[in-house]
Assembly symmetry: C2
Homo-oligomer: 589 residues x 2
Amino acid sequence: MRSHYCADLVTLEEGSELSIAGWVHRRRDLGGLIFLQIRDRSGIVQVTVEPDQGDVFAAADQLRSEFVVVVKGKLRKRPENMVNKDMATGAIEVVADHIECLNAAETPAILIDGHEEVSEETRLKYRYLDLRRPEMTEKFLFRTKVTSALRRYLDEQGFLDMETPILTKATPEGARDYLVPSRTHKGSFFALPQSPQLFKQLLMMSGFDRYYQVVRCFRDEDLRADRQPEFTQLDIETSFMDEEGIMGLMETMIRKLFSELLSVELPNPFPRMPYSEAMEKYGSDKPDLRVDMPIHTVDDLVKDVDFKVFSGPALDDNGRVGVLNLKGGAANVSRKNIDEYTKFVSVYGAKGLAFIKVNDRAAGLDGLQSPIVKFLSAEAAEAILQRVDAESGDILFFGSDTSKVVADALGALRLKLANEHNLLRDEWQPLWVVDFPMFEEEDGQLQALHHPFTSPKELDPDALKANPTGTLSRAYDMVLNGCEVGGGSIRIHNMDLQQTIFDILGIEPQEAREKFGFLLDALKFGCPPHGGIAFGLDRLVMLMVGASSIRDVITFPKTTTAGCPLTEAPARVSEAQLKELGIAIEQKK
Amino acid sequence: MRSHYCADLVTLEEGSELSIAGWVHRRRDLGGLIFLQIRDRSGIVQVTVEPDQGDVFAAADQLRSEFVVVVKGKLRKRPENMVNKDMATGAIEVVADHIECLNAAETPAILIDGHEEVSEETRLKYRYLDLRRPEMTEKFLFRTKVTSALRRYLDEQGFLDMETPILTKATPEGARDYLVPSRTHKGSFFALPQSPQLFKQLLMMSGFDRYYQVVRCFRDEDLRADRQPEFTQLDIETSFMDEEGIMGLMETMIRKLFSELLSVELPNPFPRMPYSEAMEKYGSDKPDLRVDMPIHTVDDLVKDVDFKVFSGPALDDNGRVGVLNLKGGAANVSRKNIDEYTKFVSVYGAKGLAFIKVNDRAAGLDGLQSPIVKFLSAEAAEAILQRVDAESGDILFFGSDTSKVVADALGALRLKLANEHNLLRDEWQPLWVVDFPMFEEEDGQLQALHHPFTSPKELDPDALKANPTGTLSRAYDMVLNGCEVGGGSIRIHNMDLQQTIFDILGIEPQEAREKFGFLLDALKFGCPPHGGIAFGLDRLVMLMVGASSIRDVITFPKTTTAGCPLTEAPARVSEAQLKELGIAIEQKK
């Protein structure tokens, strides 16, 4: 029914015969003529119908917004003074010979042509209308290009696109699993995978050498703007390659992607930063390098001051006094702002937020405006100002607490200040964060910072057991503009080492056997050295298209309560279905 | 660690430096030398280590089957008389300079190098070993080529690779759903999709025009050799195109696939057969055209015979007398075979299986050997023999019952005879089956033969309601060698027509609203004409690689009781998890 997509008509000669199929985006009647804007996935073109055109005019006259039509006609270049420079096809129009209406439309519940504010609930309920809006269509066309470019690169590099099960066993990522009751094994449940981690490792043990998959993963967590119950991962694993090899391949892939689709040249190589530096300087394991403003440490400068709030943490091994310098911010930060920031950092456990406005850098203590200046000697104040490169007009914020609270609070405040004061440079800042600790302590219990299959750098069991928290892992995260877009590691390929890690994590042999017995077995039968990475595809696309939520790049997303307003899933099911599965709904007491 | 895959070494010059990484497939000690066969995903190559090689020899001497190694060395062409013609790399070998063992292996539970019979349970439990067997590795390498070729074609044709939800609402395919309890909406359940049917239609209504997806689908059915709880579909939908357009694109895709990967040229165009002809001539809606032997109808020839078993069905509008002629089979079919065939057809409801052996075609009734000949006149017998092209040495089998029983019984017997008597030609026989009835009657209730969104050919509501069983649909199935590999249709794009179909199916307005309200809504807002198809990817790959079960082309399949011997899924979960989901396991009474 169609000879061309609307956007492709610009390639045609004047007078070319053509047919297009799509929706009436807009209709205008002017000077006896009818102007139709016809929309398809590629874009919009204007169709002109003149009053002397009998049947064609009559057909056009019946059309309303979102009617589905096929238009046959001829291409006409618009005269210079009629060219619409805001439209990609603004230099041409179609003179209609024939118009067929294939379907009518009621007045759409969402304006396709326009910018009205519509609630997200309505957008999701009428998602098929929301997706027709050109700005949404474009995001999804872009998404298909991203997937396709990534696949092409991985295919070229000899990676095999292989599938792994969705109905499987609980995986070790640690989030809550979605469960599926089994009918044939009543009382037992499948878990939907949080990632194909163990299966991709098994594929390496099966000898497939290089694997990738664009794969759905599931986490039953409470949702935030960038979380969904189901999300898509670009999952990758390879054998016989170390972290240098894998990181090199992966950053080349991302560089090519940005170059091809956004004409953006990312740095080569990506910078790298140890986890410890990221935490100290940016208070985050995914620093956003589009803004400067590191967290300065001034422990050595304040440990002797007569101000316990500073000297206490400065003298404590687990404590820290950190400072952010908001350059030129003194004039733009009001008392009210400071109160708000104080409340903001309290969410991260900070008990207060000391500040210093540097009104006159040359005037010593007299040039500083702050409730805490009275506790500082002139020398200490001067040393701090030097440490943070303070100039007149700056404002300094202090975090003084455990190292963790200071990192969390000032790390978050740094991003908030950057946003509010427009300090985020319009640029792409990729980064590898490396040298992660193998374990972190939570409530006195060691946890794997990544997952328990990550290889430590220390391979000696005794050394590992003697100092687990001092051990670094062979993990690497790819960070882009403050978002973790990918994370991976070299995995353990030796059974004894895997057993040692389980021991350190306090996983009892029986539990290890039950949960991961098949992996321990597999490690005995000739497991190659291997490692990999997984990218959050939704998040990567979200960043690339500049969307504010992954919901804008997922065709049919769930709400924050994990429901679908369109299909009204989840839904009640029949008693008979439950009975067949051998389960019952618990009655509320 | 690797310069080349093993199979690629044949491209190198004599003396080239190389390194390979893989598994010790086999080790032989001969005349003081050690011969290692090293295996990677590409194949196997021989590595030779000589006794005067000190460290290298010592390292080689430690190696056993399935040890993981990196070998560095030089390429050597084998002398003419040492060439192993059974090996793809049999004309070369690697002279090792350096051998590093990366991991040891216990004696594998499955022999990788060999052809011992292993139970399927063991193969699945140690799937990572099973998959290392070269014949299995090859199947999966082929599968990745199939997926990749299909994607490439669809990308070129402007189809967009888009994703649809896995946590969704019950879909209308009619098989049993897998359910997922919702934690945030207690007492409600998601269903895993049996296909993305409604979502792909919604994508058409969203204006994406051409969609495809390699997508996991789920059916909680009792399993057979070619069924799995989760399976993979190549799912396709397009707007503004009729069945001719879609079938043309799809058969071109399959032709290209076979040409590229198997060097097989399929017919252009694929033959087409109406459903009614397929059922009458082959007793199946997916006839296997690799064998001739149609079911002949002889109703007109036996309606007057004095043999109720024949004349009854022949005179009944719903009855039929059908005949299979097994050419040259008289000598090879014993009384015992016939008893077995009689039992075989009884499964399909046939009450008996009359036969005639044509011993001497020229001798009239005297030349025929059969318990039923005495009931036939010479004229009737002669007419039947003529109708079925009988010659001396043939044996005829009769089905005499309702048309359905005759089709089922003789359709199945036809394939059984073809298999047992080696009548299946070694060729590829694709076919479109078209002109399906829109509805079928089951227990007095009308059911959609495909699904209720399939467009009928008759669009007038009154005519449809007056004669639903006489209405054909716009559905088409692609059949290959007797397997349905794809099925699709033009969909309904008009709300009134959709409502009429629901009415005819006896779906109450409230039920229609609850289940498909969102679709009915969507049809009101400018739905384009659209249609599509879905291919069973596992089955297509199974056919192409000549596997006997889809389990051989799925990485980690389930057993026939829907369990995974490797991970031991499904598994028990904790009471706490169930409590969070608001469900309980029903106690057995």
